[in-house]
Symmetry: C2
Amino acid sequence: MAAVKGASRLRFFTAWFCPYAQRAWIALNHHRIPYTPIEALSITEDKGYVKHPVLLQHNPKGLVPTILPAEAEEKGKGAAAPAVFESLLCIEFADEYANEKNLSNKPNLMPKGAFAKAQARIMASWVDRQICSPFYRVLIRKDQKERDDAFAELLANLRVFAKNIHPQGPFFYGTDLSIVDVALAPWAYRFYILEHYRGKGFGIPANDTTLSPYFRWYDAVVELPAVKDTLQDKKKLAAVYERYADASAKSMVGDAVRAGKEAHDI
Amino acid sequence: MAAVKGASRLRFFTAWFCPYAQRAWIALNHHRIPYTPIEALSITEDKGYVKHPVLLQHNPKGLVPTILPAEAEEKGKGAAAPAVFESLLCIEFADEYANEKNLSNKPNLMPKGAFAKAQARIMASWVDRQICSPFYRVLIRKDQKERDDAFAELLANLRVFAKNIHPQGPFFYGTDLSIVDVALAPWAYRFYILEHYRGKGFGIPANDTTLSPYFRWYDAVVELPAVKDTLQDKKKLAAVYERYADASAKSMVGDAVRAGKEAHDI
């Protein structure tokens, strides 16, 4: 990445395997915002995490993604740094930061106009709750019917997503990548993991014509440089989800979904 | 309100007793955005609601607040109108709509700057989950310990809010009203309802000095014209909450909290 004059490097607390962090990563890449990535979660032998101490200082839940200004002081040594977290908020932050610092020549990930902005926020949140969260129920719930129901829900909502993609495509709102695309992309890349752990009935059906706009969307999204740079080796990535699939994951998402809650509730 | 040239009147689906709708109402008032209020929920004898048919056409959950452009077509008769809902999103929408249409001479409810905007979104959502949602658990949960715990949580978080109010005040970020203030105001006005139904131990303690910035905040907020216009008669308002207090409310919030979920999960 070319050095950007006058811009300080944000500190980006991430985890290479985390799809929520990947949303922020794509958004930062999209605008070519200079950042220092910090791998902040190490998976331990007992399948929990050791979290980066600076992350824990600035984000009460210790979740990734978390973005800090470069000049952030450690807590207790100065003013508390304004940490940015919650993955969908990080996407909006990337737009606003890039505009403020004049960093980007790419279109914003948020559309223009008050009504369009509200729609995009509603739709990104819908994707988060209605498509991404069922993904974890398929993996983490132990009852076969609950897994079946979660996958049926995911698939039905993916069809709604497909139906609402702009007719010219390939992206949700047409030619430009948006917050709605970024909200789904990391999970779309991970759908193979469901089939890997749960078997044939849990693949996204490639011959389903109601999903054609989705497949076209997917092919376009993973080819974008901002996204391509964030895609991990599929075998290595699947291995991380074994902790969910055998219900041993000691993560906030694992605990929440085992307790009958949803991933978006943590 | 003075007529605003060239501006169409938004359609604002509301319910006079609903604190979520009140957030949008305050934000619309703040910017003097022209709107037509539509009372969209009628409480029925069996303590459920009859909902306005146009609301149900445009918002899948039939929740207030919902904002439609004046020119919105009924579904099936033209393009689907871009409905705006979710109360915190309505506050951001009010800022963006007022700016777009050049309607307001008031400061935005969102602060300036990428980091400050992200902080405001995080804080407004924190207020929603950590102060507003426990309010419903105090009223709706039947177990005394659950009620006690919910009120203790509400009070502890209200102290955190008080501690984080700008030292000069009176509002959260200082002299100007913001999304964080609007997020809390409707519940702050309703705290008397907890004492009304649950007894003396459920009042906000007036002599608690850790809450002094909060009381100063409250006095300033309820005196703002944009807020004052939205405040209902306290006796009439309390009566609406009897449905929650005797656990008979047939509302989405009532159902969710009875089922062990949180108000913010619906």
